[in-house]
């Protein structure tokens, strides 16, 4: 068990180092920071001087070590486009993205699990079949189109929900939240639902498949034979046993939600990290891109690690199996 944890930790650190190297090479080889700092007509001597001051004349490994040191303290330098600290820019945008992702995850779970159970229990009925067909559409529709259609229907035609921005926000220390005002909730409704659609369909299909599997199993048959009511058999026995894979997938999807919020934030002009990243790609603003890359990688690696470790704790069968497979992979 200990060797499994250590191996996973080492793998996580390795991934972060690889990503860090990618971010570092962005800095080093894409564009010259000096030409961004001085004018076109700066002399070669002045340029060389600046190079030396910034440590750009040192060997690459030394520079990389310095980069990692700075990155660990959250220092990614100044944004080329806005001239402000990248860390400050991101800190200011982080709450918007996290709130969007969390609300979306809640919507996906709150709708996905009941729908999955429902379609599994009534799988031969037309309403369940219709739901399954609709979920196929949900998987193949691109996120930005879902957003556009929702805007057309619910903001333009019906006028129920606003279609851009966060609305009224409340400042709680460094964290600005839109979840404490009714206006904020009205603003988050459409983007959160758009972001949730993909996860929702995925979750629903997963719960359905797991439920169908569980309903065929011996312990469910035995529970029925004991004369337990349907409600107890379905929710107490069948659903409970589907929850381990379901929770794993929803956990893993949280990272995906943060990444996909790039698209949703653009559609709804949501002032989060995703739209910051898109502006950085358009400009191109290397420090912001590199910082976002490292942050997203950190989120993904942390979630994957946590899920893997939890899995090993929850399901004893997987401990040995996982560890040996991890070596083979």
């Amino acid at each position: 068990m200990l060797s499994f944890i250590l191996r996973r930790l080492a793998q996580a650190v390795l991934v972060m180092l690889v990503v860090g190297m990618g971010a570092f090479s962005l800095f080093r080889y894409v564009g010259d920071p000096v030409s961004n700092m001085v004018g076109e007509d700066a002399s070669a001597v002045r340029r060389a001087q600046l190079h030396a001051e910034l440590g750009l004349d040192r060997p690459a490994p030394v520079q990389f070590a310095r980069f990692v040191g700075h990155a660990l303290t959250g220092d990614f330098g100044l944004s080329l486009r806005q001239g402000r600290e990248v860390s400050a820019l991101i800190a200011e945008r982080l709450p918007a993205t996290l709130e969007l992702a969390i609300v979306a995850a809640l919507i996906a779970t709150a709708l996905g699990i009941p729908l999955g159970v429902y379609t599994a229990l009534r799988r031969r009925h037309w309403d369940a079949k219709l739901t399954m067909a609709a979920s196929l559409l949900g998987v193949s529709l691109p996120t930005f189109l879902i957003g556009i259609v929702l805007i057309e229907v619910f903001s333009v035609l019906l006028g129920w929900f606003p279609s851009y921005g966060r609305g009224t926000t409340v400042q709680l220390g460094a964290w600005s939240t839109g979840l404490l005002t009714a206006d904020g909730w009205r603003h988050i409704a459409l983007p959160a639902f758009t972001l949730a659609v993909y996860q929702l369909t995925l979750l629903m299909r997963l719960v359905r498949a797991e439920m169908l599997e569980a309903l065929r199993s011996d312990y469910v048959k035995f529970a029925r034979a004991r004369g337990l009511p349907d409600r107890v058999v379905h929710f107490g026995h069948a659903l409970r046993n589907t929850l381990v894979p379901v929770l794993t997938i929803s956990g893993l999807q949280l990272g995906g939600l943060i990444a996909f919020s790039i698209i949703t934030e653009t559609v709804f002009s949501w002032p989060g990290m995703g739209s910051l990243f898109i502006q950085a790609v358009q400009f191109p603003d290397v420090p912001v891109m590199a910082a976002y890359l490292c942050l997203i990688a950190l989120v993904f690696v942390t979630i994957n690690l946590a899920v893997d470790l939890l899995y090993a704790v929850v399901d004893p069968r997987l401990r040995v199996h996982r560890a040996s497979e991890g070596a083979a992979r």
Binding site: P142, L145, I148, V149, V156, Q282, M289
Partner: protein, 321 residues
Amino acid sequence: MKQHPAASPADATVAATPPPARWRRVFASDLWHDFVHSRTAVFATVVALLCLCGALFAPWLAPHNPADLATLDLADSHLPPAWLADGRATYPLGTDDQGRDILSALLYGARISLMVGLSSVVLSVLIGVSAGLLAGFAGGVVDAVLMRVCDVMLSFPPILIALLIDGIGRAIFPQARDVLAFAVLILALTLTDWVRYARTVRGSTLVERDKDYVQAARLVGVSSWRLLRRHVLPNVMGPVLVLATIQVGQAIVAEATLSYLGVGVPPTNPSLGTLIRIGNDFLYAGEWWITLFPGAALVLIAMSVNLLGDWLRDALNPRLR
């Protein structure tokens, strides 16, 4: 992308009889039988072919040439589709803010979308299959390094990687216009996708490598290159074919997403995604047709290709027979 299943490896094994005519062999195959008897597959193929033809023959089918500025008339801008009150028969699906015919823009846009999608899939199949064969056949350090790269890339959502490579491309070539912008975009999609093929092919190569026919060929003195190309390659292509069909849909959607985000194809050659982006601004003015028709076209293409891919996966899966 797949008009008839002539090139599939399943046919080669099924039709062991000496080939009388290539076409008869195709029609006699199990795959063809499956295909004709699957309503979904036939329907999806018809829709996909219609889209493909519409895109291919856009210059002859489209009522107007959206790139020809001389034919544009600002007086004709913001017209709704022909069946609505102010619509005109000359512009069946209406016009955009510059008086461009939506139907024509859509046909030309589908052309760009399909071109980018197909070429990125072809390129990633080439790179991915070569890398997979190499990793599976050579083993050792090459294998370890390639697979670690795959591990890292597969743990992030593809759209994020595509965006990042696109961003790097844009930073390296800040003045990228037209051809170069297309190259950056196709490269971004290619470099995102190849890992999937590499993974699959490596797995099947590892299996094939130790089979008797490969050992026998090696004993006879067949060179490694010829062994890979003539013996291993045909036997690992089945899953690649399925994956490639599904990836065509994915690549088209990914291209549309990047273009919608404003980091895809140059605005001078709008793809479906660009058209949706342009139309987005007019949604609030009630002019839904500018954005929703290209959107519908995108969904039609993506869904028909996806359905075809799903069918192909089931049809080539021996366990489901």
